[in-house]
Symmetry: C2
Subunit: 318 residues, 2 copies
């Protein structure tokens, strides 16, 4: 019998992560590709990665559908209204474009919504009716399960938690506001905090190894150095943890979740991220002495949660 | 035939507002009382106001049930876990206490949730599946309608939007965090901003009329003076509008509502509040150029929305 397979692509600000999942959502194939810098190349790269995944599947596999997760404002028809982390894609009719290029049913949704669907159906938030899933990548995405349902909003734009302003005197966000949460508590936020700490003289050891170039510093340099005990890197992680906890606690007050799940590229440094949040989060939730503690866990599907969720949404419409 | 009636009380930080509503939710009786400063007196005052309302109803009226809206963390059994604006009420088993004092079915819920229920069923958010209702009183409450359902959270604590931190360097909130939204954009927030502006020398005219006592200043002094064209009061209203818009836009990013409804005691100065928010709100919503504008309107049930919603919830369980 032919195996039914769904394909899912998580389009990140820096890379695509594509998967093929089997009938129980198990990942059969995984594939990566850098994110191009313009819509035409993004469309081409999307069809390429789909064919690359397909080439790795048995020829008997029956492809049910394709799901694509995109960071930003995606409406119910798969139109990209606003995607600040994808160059030039505002206004792209991605659903229409992909459907005209592919022979499979296509579904497009917000990347963090996809991750929440995957974690809710198969991962850390299984059987949990009230869960928040935050994807920490180039920005911060949010997928919200409330009362057992995905919160989608009036246009499909719900969950844009990264653009919650948490510091009116903060730096300018590409979205036009000041002090958005993702400026501090995402992958790029970690880099921002590192540069700030470097300018304050906290990162001498790391800069010594990097040849002194502060602006070459990457989030990974900080997480790796923090794990080896570098005090400067640990200072950065502490600041990062405080900012991450602040936004998580804000949304815990708003949603009263049973569970918070952290996913996205940054969770490759998962335990370090959890440890950086732990000293702050609980006590930042209003009335924390008088309510159950909200557990914070890592996405069980790890970095692939968005891609797997996109594939699961494609199965739903198949 | 006996008329079926439900009673609802909105327990505010400064006053009780009680109503009796008829079969279509129409308000038959309205009654006010100051909020006492301890749980025993609050319980007594609650039963008193219920009897006062009953005394104003025709003797043939059939009371179906009683609903009570409380600011803070109220669980599904009507236990008050945390209510920073009600002195000494943390831990009060209000559902149990009221049921043992009254012969009617009793339901207890968060006050802003009650307001959202009323506006959703009868008011400004009628037929709207995705709406945010903010009640601006001593604090800021939030009632959330998403996908046509009230968002309640795992314990019933959802909607505590007032304790979203929006300024990490802000003043200390009684909840223990710094810079909570309600410190700036509630009734007490308006007073805080007024005192700040007074200290900066902006309120000379108003202080002249008040005998120079800055700490005697009330929110109403500001709204009244702003309407008569006082520049200092208008400065305060502008700052207030910016803070209110900031939190509203944060939650618009998170929920993607079709509509935002403002209720609570402050909407007595309704048009002034709307005018103070208007210059800021739209452009603070992520991707505002690429998405529909989110209308901001006043609660149609006005200040009584919470009490009416509590009564409607009592009808539901009756």
């Amino acid at each position: 019998m032919n195996q039914k397979v769904a394909l899912g692509i998580d389009v990140g600000g820096t890379k695509f992560l594509g998967v093929a999942v089997g009938e129980k959502g198990e990942v059969l194939v995984e594939c990566r590709k850098p994110t191009p810098d313009n819509p035409k190349s993004i469309l081409e790269a999307l069809t390429e990665i789909l064919f690359e995944i397909r080439a790795q599947l048995p020829s008997t596999a029956l492809i049910e559908g394709v799901g694509v997760g995109i960071p930003g404002l995606i409406d119910f028809r798969g139109n990209v209204h606003y995607a600040p982390n994808l160059n030039g894609c505002n206004g792209l009719e991605l659903g229409f474009e992909l459907k005209s290029r592919l022979d499979f049913p296509v579904v497009i949704d917000n990347d963090a919504t996809c991750a929440a669907v995957a974690e809710h159906l198969l991962g850390a938030a299984k059987n949990c009716n009230d869960a928040l899933v935050f994807t920490l990548g180039t920005g911060i995405g949010g997928g919200i399960i409330a009362g057992g349902k995905v919160v989608r909003g009036a246009e499909g734009f719900a969950g844009e938690v990264g653009h919650m302003a948490v510091d009116p005197d903060g730096p300018l966000c590409p979205c036009g506001k000041k002090g958005c949460w993702e400026l501090y508590a995402s992958g790029s936020g970690l880099r921002y905090l590192a540069i700030q700490a470097g300018e304050e003289g906290h990162l001498k050891n790391i800069l010594h190894h990097k040849g002194g170039k502060l602006f070459d510093i990457r989030g990974e340099d900080i997480t790796e150095a923090a794990l080896t005990g570098d005090i400067g890197a640990q200072t950065v992680m502490e600041r990062f943890g405080r900012w991450l906890a602040l936004g998580m606690a804000n949304l815990a007050c708003v949603f009263d979740p049973k569970l918070i799940v952290l996913g996205g590229g940054l969770v490759q440094a998962g335990d370090l991220i959890l440890a950086s949040v732990a000293p702050f989060f609980d006590q930042m939730v209003e009335g924390w002495r008088y309510r159950p503690t909200i557990p914070v866990v890592l996405a069980e599907l790890g970095e692939a949660a968005g891609a797997v969720g996109a594939a699961l949404l494609a199965k739903e419409i198949a």
